[in-house]
Symmetry: C2
Subunit: 334 residues, 2 copies
């Protein structure tokens, strides 16, 4: 197997570039066949890197795309941003995968417009791995917002890619694929979902039927496919609800008198476990599936540990050569 | 003001008919100008009612629609079910409002096909009141699943009805109306949401723009309007996430050794507060807006207290004569 190179946008996220460089160094020690390219402010990166120059190359860039930037405009105008230059390197074959903690829309736009779509995939989909209730397994959910408008064929292709990913990268054999819909029966939903149901049923996937919004975390499916609009609303709602509940619980624990306070101290471990369970970051980043290289976005607030896990995830995607598989599968279909 | 009559399906829900009859008796004592009709098994209802016959009439029915029944088929075939007969009484003007804890789809179908749509309203919408983070206020969300396919005009009408409801029934002055969308900017979303945005902006509503799935519980809006498919997925996800988190937390508290257990006991009150906060039932039932009478569905697991609150809510809707207002508003528009 040839050496792999991961292009890392070192300037995105709240803890950039420190946490990112530390994560790269930690992952590098465990991945002897992987090289890294760090895109960002040269002086700062050099200083953080110190003597650890083996298998790490710094590519100096002068601009940064912020969360406030309008995505498509930003990748057109900030030509020397760490994200755009990193994507260009992947496009040109100088690197094999792109990892960023920055502006989600700009990462999607870089993947779709710079790195480019796989032939046969009309619309790439964004896929995070989410936690389930009673185990450490998770499930893939696709698309969570790369597309506001979805067609039934998109959903079929997303399901195929996500199932392949679940099998190769996450080791799930015969992943159970479900369609997020507004009821269990096959005729539920609007035209897009009714047709997607038929396409999924006729496919070779292990399609188990519809799943409803309240069942997502129950671990019934390994892959949940959804139109990008609903997926976006549901994922954000999931994160919002979890964060509000944890906040309310902490507030409740701290506002109810002395004994409850003592109780809270003793229960701290349980609360911490709960927060860990719903720390979506521990499952690595969200993958943009359907472009010519792995493009992985992890949360802007990711710390060194979260970035480290995401690097391992990107490396695993490269090792399993899933993009090559997608190119063969969908390229010949058209 | 004339006497009001509420038609109560006494056979729906897990605690029927006991909890329902008890709730009616409790509410009746506080609402001297309200009459009740109980639809269900006569012998049983008579026994539960005892001597409390004043302002309560029993209407004997021989069938019950279960949660497993296919809604539209059920209302066509189970002609003598408590739900269908209750809806017929409302249709015929013998009662003014319908309350049920039964099969949601069958309640929607009874409202739309038996009681009938208000002239000028093409599609009624289902609207629960949901909790917000830092206050006891809630917000209205419409539509949460009466419609799998939505047009921009539907969303506008739902927003108008929900805003009027928020003002009259919940006492919110100038309710802030937001559109659930996949980003803050006006051009976000698919065609339906882009057009709905423009319609809402041009209306006389206090439209504050888009809201995203993670902001729902933040209390930024008094009314959130959404297409029925997304609304259904998001509401179910919200309930599912809250229930999983509370479950995990309890499991965590009970699985972490002696001191954590003691902590859990001391924190029980906080947990209870949290559960109460996310007890969606305490805000009453979900209202089907756009039909010729108030049709209110409350959760199948509602206990006597929850049903009691829902009766008070139905009574308030009747007192504020909001259906009459909708008939005047939308009837003349066409």
């Amino acid at each position: 197997m040839k050496m792999r190179t991961i292009a890392v946008d070192a300037m995105g996220g709240e803890h950039a570039p420190e946490a990112i460089v530390q994560a790269v160094l930690k992952a590098k020690a465990e991945l002897p066949e992987t090289k890294f390219m760090l895109f960002g402010e040269q002086t700062k990166l050099k200083e953080l890197l110190g003597q650890n120059e083996e298998r790490v190359e710094i590519v100096a860039t002068s601009e940064v795309i912020n969360d406030e930037d309008e995505p498509v405009k930003a990748i057109r105008t900030k030509k020397d941003s760490s994200l755009v230059v990193a994507a260009q390197f992947v496009k040109q074959g100088k690197a094999d995968a792109l990892l960023s903690l920055g502006n989600t829309g700009a990462i999607l736009a870089s993947g779709i417009f710079i790195i480019g779509r796989i032939k046969g995939i009309e619309r790439p989909g964004l896929m995070p791995t989410l936690p389930v209730k009673n185990s450490d397994d998770g499930f893939e959910m696709i698309d969570v917002g790369a597309n506001a408008k979805s067609k039934p064929e998109y959903l079929l292709n997303w399901a195929k890619m996500a199932a392949y990913y679940a099998e190769k990268v996450r080791g799930v054999s015969q992943p159970r694929v479900a369609l997020l819909n507004n009821g269990a029966e096959s005729d539920k939903g609007d035209d897009v979902h009714q047709q997607a149901y038929e396409l999924l049923k006729s496919s070779r996937l292990n399609f188990i039927g519809n799943i409803e919004g309240n069942e997502l975390l129950d671990g019934k499916a390994d892959v949940v496919v959804t139109d990008g609009f609903t997926g976006n609303a549901v994922l954000k709602n999931l994160e919002g609800t979890a964060s509000v509940l944890i906040h309310l619980l902490k507030a409740g624990l701290l506002n109810n008198g002395f004994w409850v306070k003592i109780g809270a101290l003793l229960s701290k471990k349980a609360l911490k476990n709960l927060a860990a369970k719903f720390d979506i970051d521990k499952y690595g980043g969200a993958v943009l599936l359907g472009v010519n290289a792995p493009v992985v976005k992890t949360h802007g607030r990711s710390d060194q540990r979260a970035v480290y896990y995401t690097i391992k995830q990107v490396d695993k995607i490269l090792r399993e050569e899933i993009i090559e598989e997608f190119k063969a599968e969908f390229g010949q279909a058209k």
